[in-house]
């Protein structure tokens, strides 16, 4: 052990400073923070100001051994990078939590941060006891164990998953203070499983097979109708995400994945698939997840999540510093690949083409970037995604013009982040 007294002054102050200010302040110091008060709290700034650097404590004593812990966790300094709940539901058992998009890099969502939307809580299902039944209009009704399903030829694919209620609270007014709360019902993983077409082939479709009912083994016994075309196209029965078995809140041990389709249809804890000749009109596809239009009629079976994008940095709650800033964000389309992302810093008066990080995959998050120098003064940051079908992400006013103000789901309009003269970034409608 190194005696405390021999520690460098600066290192001791670093610990004190982190404890006192917490991670959020640390992030701000290294990113968008402005003003001398915060900057002077920085160890680097203090060294640069003339005092010689001390020797950090970490180089003068052993760190923790391996397996601390066996299943690794994020640094304790990242303790504010967590999912956060909605404030709109009366119960935590049928509710949702948001992914902290503003704190993440790249395109993959860490498993512990994938957004949640449950309708009857998260069941604890032992994989050995789990069964999938495939019946209805099939030649051979079949029962599968998890072992059976894992033995099929498998595929791994990168796809986003977005709740069709993502942005629902933003229809009428700018409500969420951060990208997490405006766009965080969105995550992206590498999913591993067996193509649903393979498993359907095992049972053999009977004549007239046009729709599937997918049912979950949770307390909501969640049910959604799936068109056979999607089932035979790219649907997967998934048992792993980002290299490990599904997390309980993502459907362990088995979920349906319908790339590019609204989150609710990607039934978790999947236990039954019934093949039929018509849709089943479950509660979730009639009273919920339908799009009420201005004339009082509503659209049903709005499955695809259309092209959308959001600037995650800087975004709501950030404070810009003058000078160089890289604008970073995410774009995605349920119809295919992102072809282009445009960014405006002046509220759509002018647009610049952002660069896209590789890989750019179909029905997957794509990371975009644009170098930017903020000179101070007000600004309005926006991004606009264009997918490989030529579809252009609409402005909010364009969407409202077609669907009215009573709509709730499938809000893929352009997000506006207002930059105040002092650098504060807030969510606005523009």
């Amino acid at each position: 052990m190194v005696p405390k007294a021999s520690l460098g002054r600066a290192a001791g102050e670093l610990d004190a400073s982190r404890t006192r200010l917490g991670r959020r302040s640390w992030l701000k110091r290294t990113a968008f923070a402005a003003g001398t008060a915060v900057a002077s709290g920085s160890l680097v700034a203090r060294g640069a100001a003339g005092a010689p650097l001390g020797v950090p404590e970490t180089v003068r004593k052993l760190g923790n051994p391996i397996l601390s812990p066996e299943y690794g966790l994020p640094s304790p300094h990242e303790s504010e990078v967590v999912r956060r709940p909605t404030d709109l539901t009366p119960t935590q058992y049928s509710s949702w939590s948001f992914t902290p998009l503003q704190d993440l890099d790249g395109i993959i969502t860490p498993n512990g941060l994938v957004f949640e939307r449950h309708h009857g809580g998260v069941p604890d299902i032992a994989p050995d006891a789990h069964r999938l039944v495939l019946h209805g209009l099939v030649k051979r009704p079949l029962l599968f164990t998890m072992d059976d399903l894992v033995r099929f030829p498998s595929v791994s694919r990168f796809h986003f998953l977005e709740c069709s209620g993502n942005g629902s609270a933003e229809w009428k007014e700018p409500r969420g203070k951060t990208a997490q709360l405006t766009h965080g019902l969105l995550s992206c993983c590498e999913w591993t499983g067996v193509p649903l077409a393979t498993v359907l082939g095992e049972a053999g479709l009977a004549p007239g097979a046009k729709w599937l009912l997918a049912e979950g083994g949770d307390a909501a016994a969640m049910t959604r109708s799936i068109p056979i075309e999607k089932a035979l196209d790219d649907a997967l029965l998934v048992y792993a995400q980002n290299g490990e078995r599904l997390r309980p809140e993502q459907g362990y041990p088995l979920r349906l994945l319908l790339p590019g389709f609204e989150g609710n249809m990607n039934v978790k804890w999947l236990r039954r698939i019934k093949v039929g000749d018509r849709p089943f009109y479950s509660r979730e596809e009639t009273s919920k997840y339908t799009d009420l239009l201005g004339d009082g009629r509503a659209r049903e079976f709005s499955f695809v999540m259309e092209a959308k994008s959001v600037i995650t940095r800087p975004s709501g709650g950030a404070k810009l510093r003058k000078g160089f800033n890289e604008i970073r964000g995410l774009a995605w389309s349920g119809r295919g690949r992102i072809a282009r992302v445009d960014v405006s810093v002046d509220g759509s008066k002018s647009w610049q083409r952002a660069s896209l990080d590789q890989p750019v995959l179909a029905k997957c998050l794509t990371r975009f970037r644009l170098p930017w120098t903020w000179q101070g003064g007000p600004g309005l940051l926006q991004s606009r995604a264009i997918d490989d079908t030529g579809y252009v992400q609409p402005s909010r006013s364009q969407l409202v013009a077609v669907r009215g103000l009573n709509s709730y789901y499938h809000n893929n309009s352009i997000q506006s982040w207002q930059v105040a003269a002092g650098g504060e970034v807030t969510n606005v409608h523009a």
């Binding site: 009366p90 119960t91 309708h119 009857g120 039944v133 495939l134 019946h135 051979r140 009704p141 079949l142 029962l143 599968f144 399903l149 033995r151 099929f152 030829p153 077409a197 393979t198 498993v199 082939g201 095992e202 049972a203 009977a206 004549p207 049912e215 307390a219 909501a220 016994a221 049910t223 056979i228 075309e229 035979l232 196209d233 236990r271 039954r272 039929g276 018509r278 089943f280 009109y281 479950s282 509660r283 009639t286 009273s287 339908t290 239009l293 201005g294 009082g296 009629r297 509503a298 659209r299 049903e300 079976f301 709005s302 252009v392 609409p394 364009q398 969407l399 013009a401 077609v402 009573n406």
Partner: protein
């Protein structure tokens, strides 16, 4: 994938032509999974369609439904279905095109069978699948009665429930996207 390709893929499966199966047995299968008879799926096979397919034997009246509702539903949905803390079930007729649309079983749901299906599979919230068939028919009848959709003397069963005409049955359109800009 084009519609034509989808149809082709579906057709290949229907014909057992081995579409997309590079390995497996002669019929393009892997020999995985276990045969199961429909009669062994009965306890899971609880979905109900608008045409009544899937409705179980049983019967329930509005009066019986009131008793079930007050005992097991009103704590969450209000004594008269007015909602709070959970979803409002009653009212809202004529509001869907207004500034404050109220979407309830009465004003919005297109099929009475969906109400039966949902109650049967999920309710009561803290005791899901805790109602018998008679209780489910009864409480469905009571919620429809509170909405003025069925008479106080109504009894519902597998024959009468699919015939209930819901006010918003014609209120739904197919997805018309892309629709903007």
């Amino acid at each position: 994938m084009s519609t034509r390709k989808w149809q082709a893929a579906g057709l290949a499966l229907l014909l057992g032509a081995g579409w997309a199966f590079p390995a497996g047995n002669a019929e393009g299968r892997y020999g995985l999974g276990h045969a199961i008879a429909e009669e062994d799926v009965v306890s899971w096979n609880i979905d109900v369609r608008p045409d009544g397919a899937g409705l179980p034997p049983g019967r329930g009246t509005v009066a019986q439904g009131k008793e079930v509702y007050l005992a097991k539903c009103s704590t969450c949905h209000g004594e008269n279905g007015e909602g709070s803390p959970m979803d409002r079930l009653v009212g809202g007729a004529g509001t869907l095109a207004s500034d404050k649309p109220v979407k309830t079983v009465g004003s919005y749901w297109p099929y009475a069978t969906t109400l039966f299906d949902y109650v049967r599979r999920t309710m009561p919230f803290t005791d899901p699948q805790g109602l018998g068939a008679d209780e489910t028919y009864a409480v469905t009848a009571y919620v429809l009665f509170l909405n003025g959709i069925v008479q106080e003397t109504t009894a519902l069963d597998a024959r009468t429930l699919p015939a209930v005409a819901m006010p918003n049955r014609g209120g739904f359109l197919p997805d018309a996207r892309p629709d903007a800009p």
